[in-house]
Point group: C2
Chain length 426, copies 2
């Protein structure tokens, strides 16, 4: 068939079997998040453009809305307010806005998870998606601003649990912005240059060491010593500059282990983790897959002290983390066990013309695909098998069904309840 419409670059869609695998992946993440008491939240696809811009998001990477009639040149009075709206860029800003708007109706501390797509006006580039799902959790402090350090550890433990439940092999690398700032202070980097220093450290894995060193040398004569400490070739000197950050980091690592109740060799300190975003003030974390480091950080986040700035009179300190399912999602659905999903949720095919068998099997708890066309049985089986089904009911006599197993091409006779028990493993 000649398709007349080409795919839209950067907006990937899954085939049915992949979609079922993807849904199973998000269900596992959700299950892990909810086991820690994080409650589901969905926000509208749009935010006011003023909100996004006030958060420092690059307008070139944001999709604004216009009523289509206006774009097509019609004299459009736009009663829909489209001009003031844009698609959300992440899930953190919408949550800050949601919490500010609904503050009086929420109970704090507020733990929420959010699993929804975000949109980014990226230039077309391999592995860059313009729409992808993020799976976020955030712990927002109460009105008095109480945000225990244990919250940082809970967030790490919760994300660790989610990623582990997916069977992934990964390392979470944890750092602390206060420690980084202390190390910058020790190296004599002036306060006004610390944001620049953060950006240099954040880029450290994308640049040759010589380039990083040269950039740091523009800020401090102790660049080599600083790099040695960051890469753990020299020990951290714990002094007044570094003590608070150092102690917070040790506490977060120890508490995370306590939350998980088992060894955390795959959660470790890494002083080169910086995170580019301005709003982080303490713990920062990135996560790398052992089997696919080229995907970059698949799970990142940190602690922030004032996310609601410009949105409300309160500061809304919190700590959060996000699993990004763009490239990671596409990669996972090609790996075991996710690659083996069938292109149907049905557990059983029921051949054409068997009366009310299908509805009885559904009443017994099975997902059933019923043949609605009077085609030769062999042809029906072929279609069912192609779709990933493994069994079919091909006949009935009284209360006894004839069950065909595709793998062995063999038939057997059993009752509806016996069949349901078999396929549901109950």
């Amino acid at each position: 068939m000649a398709t007349k419409i080409s795919p839209i670059s950067g907006f990937p869609e899954y085939l049915p079997a992949q979609q079922r695998a993807f849904d199973a992946i998000t269900a596992k993440i959700r299950h892990a998040y909810e086991s820690f008491g994080y409650t589901p939240l969905e926000t509208a696809a749009v935010e006011r453009t003023e909100v996004l811009v006030s958060k420092g998001i690059d307008a070139k990477e944001v999709y604004g809305l216009r009523r289509l009639a206006a774009i097509m040149g019609a004299n459009d009075d736009d009663t829909t307010g489209a001009k003031e709206l844009a698609l959300r860029f992440d899930l953190t800003v919408p949550t800050a806005r949601y919490v500010a708007q609904n503050y009086g109706q929420l109970v704090f501390p507020f733990r929420r998870h959010q699993i929804q797509p975000v949109w980014r006006g990226e230039r077309p580039q391999k592995g860059r998606y313009r729409q992808f799902h993020q799976c976020d959790i955030d712990y927002i402090a109460d009105g008095a601003g109480n945000l225990p350090l244990a919250a940082d550890a809970e967030i790490l433990a919760c994300a660790f649990t989610a990623l582990s439940s997916l069977g992934l092999n990964f390392t979470m690398r944890v750092n602390n912005r206060k420690l980084l700032n202390g190390l910058f202070a020790q190296a004599g980097i002036a306060e006004e240059n610390r944001t620049a220093a953060i950006k240099i450290i954040d880029d450290i894995e994308k640049q040759p060491t010589a380039v990083t060193l040269e950039k740091l040398q523009a800020l401090t004569p102790k660049a080599t010593e600083l790099l040695n400490v960051l890469s753990q070739k020299s020990p951290v000197v714990v002094d007044n500059d570094t003590r608070e950050g150092w102690e917070e980091l040790q506490s977060v690592l120890a508490n995370t282990q306590a939350f998980l109740g088992h060894d955390i060799q795959y959660i470790k300190a890494d002083y080169t983790i910086a995170r580019g975003l301005d709003y982080y003030t303490g713990t920062v974390v990135e996560t790398t897959l052992h089997d696919a480091p080229e995907l970059g950080s698949i799970c990142s986040g940190g602690r922030y002290e004032n996310l609601a700035e410009s949105l409300s009179d309160r500061a809304l300190p919190g700590v959060g983390i996000s699993i990004g399912l763009g490239r990671l999602g596409m990669w996972m659905v090609e790996q075991a066990p996710w690659q083996d999903y069938a292109a149907t949720p049905a557990q059983l095919y029921v051949a054409f013309g068997l009366g009310t068998v299908a509805s009885k099997l559904r009443a017994a708890g099975l997902n059933v695909e019923e043949g609605l066309e009077d085609k030769p049985l062999g042809k029906q089986m072929m279609t069912a098998e192609k779709r990933g089904l493994t069994h079919a009911v091909v006949g009935m006599e009284g209360d006894t069904l004839t069950l065909r197993t595709f793998a062995t091409r063999s038939d057997e006779h059993l009752t509806i309840s016996a069949l349901a028990k078999r396929l549901l493993g109950a």
Copy 2:
């Protein structure tokens, strides 16, 4: 707290307890859809504007995309292709486009469900949403165009099962476009006026009878007789004009009953159901809630013969139905049993300072909210109860936990496994 950002009109968001109820509602719909073998599908939020426009959707009601930088007046070279994109208006057109694009990789007949938001540039108006979820199923014929009439009945039975599982009281009203056309022919309405007649009938419940009659009288001198047949005051005369549509309708009603395996007094023929959309060619259906008829049709659909026109060389005949969860969703979360959801997925609160109890309870299968702040126990209980929790672990001695039940303010002592068994009902 002074919120500085006002809500966006037409983009409602749920509070946490409502969101959990809404998620439970969509999960039940999904479960019913999958029990009939409909496989999950998600499409991108955007479509090419040319696709939407070619389907006759009003450009005034579509949100087009522009890169925000361009809207804000920057000289924008827009490498993101935003100008050609618009937010999807429904889930039917995206599915037609998806099936046309992925035709070679799908197995037909193709049954899919899709539960995603759609966006409509409605003018601000009570009960009109600019974003709301639709829950669709469609049965798409194979390449030879085989689309058995039983598919219409399966779609009705599946949607009926979904709505019943939600505890709703409703009536599905079914008609057939061929029958309507036959009745128009009997009344002497010329072929070129039949589309106009469809629109008049589609509006029949929004207009006084006198207005409908007057409009029909402009098309035929037999307007009164036609209205009497449509409102079932006079019987349908089954002749060459009406036979095909009449027989299809009887067959669909009988087959739906067979699929459901029980009485279908709440699925009935109604000759005034027309559906406004041009692409319907046979069965059409609308559904009204007994308890809230003011919500309009909560579940509508029908059969179409050529949905992929302009998208591919094939016709893609199919039949589909859609549950709209905009006003219905907002209404349901205020009704029993949905109004009683807690604002947390946690089944249990664990007080501050009890070591690894929380992680052990999670390992036993419970969702646990742990207190991370050293606050007085009474204050912790108050917060937990406010969030909708009913039980808390407030102490531990050896392997024995102290469980407090909020309703009775009573404590008891039991092991972790006994507690898990109790709360999970296992």
